[in-house]
Amino acid sequence: MDFFALLVVNGLLVGTLYSLIALGFVLIYKATDAINFAQGELVMIAGFFVAALIQLYRVPLAATVAIAVLAMMLLGFGIERVMLRPLIGRPVIAVIMATIGLAAILKGTGPLVWGAETKNLPLPIPEAPFLVNVLDVVVLVSPIQLVAAGVSLAFLAVFGYIFLRSRMGIAMRAVADSQQVAMAMGINVERYFALAWAMAGIVSALGGIIWGNLLGVDVHLALVGLKVFPVVILGGLDSIPGAVVGGLIVGVVEGVAAGYIDPYVGGGTKDFVPYLLMILALMVRPYGIFGKEIIERV
């Protein structure tokens, strides 16, 4: 029982980390209908940038976070302007391939500019775990995971509010629904595309800082981006609470499956159990738990 509780708690916390990355993906899809295969690489570039700032230039943490967020926002603007604006209205495979190309470019630029070796991203958060008593069961909790959970939930609240209530959010949802009608209503579609990518950039910046601290920063940090797909399919491609819930589910299922099934199959369950879950979801409820169902009208 102890072990199970350990796995579940750890899974929940890791799940919030996944939702942080999934959030970036969902933001872009929600506002621009574009699928971003380069989400992991954006987190990686943010991580490289922050690691360089902290270690090479010795910039204090608060300033680093601010600069990183700003830089990633600009990067988001730039990507949208150069790559995605010309592809408005093109079939979905064009955008997918464009983001795949972007992923390759970022993967090459990172080590080229900042070097190939893995960098440490130190944060003033204690490493040692502390023990928490949950319902009479003792579990290990790591402080960085709590920080990440906090950040994810904060973002959920902020972005959820923006999309639901603010003028900007409603405009973005309109653009995602139908670009042509939105344009006809006087909404500046291009501006909101840029804003969406900028928001994704901000989320990536935070994701880069936290994941960079967890795993160390180098080119393989981008691989966390592959986890995003099971999470968003489960939660719904265009749903912000879905990103969080999907992340939690994937985190827990992964952890429990790996903990219990791994010894029998020799490892590796963690890799493909989320994908099995995803295939199941695709067969049963393709739009995810919270996603909006797309009804095709002929």
Binding site: I93, L102, I105
Partner: protein, 355 residues
């Protein structure tokens, strides 16, 4: 000046429906075939032949993916996994059952086709991005299965040695012999694909890509044809995997990862979706790209940086250029190298007139 269609009068149905009705086209194809089979292998050295072999194998794979994605509009990220299915099937048949290469090759393709149909079965319910992600899941699950099921992977090492292919007593060993073997298979693949799109199956594929609801309405059973597209495409992928295996002498799943799937997607995008010639262009281009780039960066970089820095530079520059080319082609020339070629052809069709 080069009036291609003028003066070509056909007097029988067969002549009208020929693959290359214009005599100039027939002469060109014949010349290319003669050069590819006769001149090139006799003149080229081992290294060039090895590059040509790799490019030819990639052509088969690219055509397969183009059939699925370019002609039928189903995005597939699982091409690498289908290749590894074909590769391991052939390797197992060759080593454990001792079957000769002309059995293992189609057997590998058939097994891959079967797996491809299973992975493609969600296409009944989902399409577009969701199907792409389902194929991505298929890629990972197949990779994991091959890695972990020792019956398939042949033990701890997960790689199977295959003996040199032997056709009726002749053992294919040198690069030149490999070249002939691979070129024959590639030529068959190209001709089969070209003819596929002159049949009603091919036309059904294109209809599904263009507007699947309309296709269903006029009576095309889209689920059946989508599965068929997956099957044919995976057959090609399986054959590609078998060819790689025989060429390298070893079947290893680490060659057929998600990176390979993305590579082939890039090939057909750069080459041109929905065209066989585009697949050929794209495959050759992407096979040559790292090699050419290495020469260029080594040559120029040597002037500015020290040797170790240059070596570090090369591979990162390759990645950046790879991504950059994909984005460039998508933004500037969405129909790829094929469109560029057609532009050149059209220009010369009416040359020296302007239109």
């Amino acid at each position: 000046m080069i009036h291609r269609e003028c003066g070509v009068l056909k007097t029988s149905y067969a002549a009208d429906m020929a693959l290359y009705p214009v005599p100039l086209a027939r002469w060109t194809v014949g010349a290319i075939a003669a050069a590819a089979f006769g001149v090139f292998p006799l003149l080229a050295g081992d290294y060039l032949l090895s590059i040509a072999n790799l490019a030819a194998i990639a052509v088969v794979g690219a055509i397969g993916l183009n059939i699925l994605t370019g002609y039928t509009g189903q995005i597939s990220l699982g091409h690498g996994a289908f290749m590894s299915v074909g590769a391991y099937t052939a390797a197992i048949l060759a080593t454990r059952a001792g079957l000769p290469v002309w059995v293992c090759l189609p057997a590998g393709g058939a097994m891959a086709a079967l797996v491809g149909m299973i992975v493609g079965s969600p296409s009944l319910r989902i399409k577009g991005l969701y199907l792409a992600i389902a194929t991505l899941a298929g890629q990972f699950v197949i990779e994991w299965t091959i890695n972990h099921v020792t019956w398939i992977s042949g033990g701890v090492q997960a790689s199977i040695y295959v003996p040199r292919p032997a056709l009726g007593g002749l053992v294919i060993q040198s690069q030149r012999e490999m070249y002939y073997f691979i070129m024959v298979v590639t030529a068959l693949a190209v001709v089969a694909a070209l003819n596929l799109f002159r049949t009603r199956v091919g036309r059904a594929f294109i209809a599904i890509r263009d507007h699947d609801v309309a296709a269903e309405i006029i009576g095309i059973n889209i689920f059946r044809y989508k599965l068929l597209a997956f099957a044919i495409s995976s057959f090609y992928a399986g054959v590609t995997g078998v060819l790689y295996t025989y060429y390298l002498g070893i079947a290893n799943y680490e060659q057929f990862t998600i990176v390979t799937s993305i590579d082939f997607l890039a090939m057909i995008i750069i080459g041109g979706l929905g065209s066989i010639l585009g697949s050929i262009f794209g495959a050759v281009f992407l096979t040559l790209l790292p090699i050419v780039l290495r020469y260029v960066v080594e040559g120029i970089g040597g002037l500015f940086f020290t040797i170790p820095d240059v070596l570090n530079l090369i591979t990162n520059v390759q990645l950046i250029l790879f991504g950059g080319l994909i984005v460039f082609f998508l933004v500037v020339e969405p129909e790829g190298l094929n469109k560029l070629w057609r532009n050149i052809k059209d220009y010369f069709r009416v040359w020296p007139f302007a239109y």
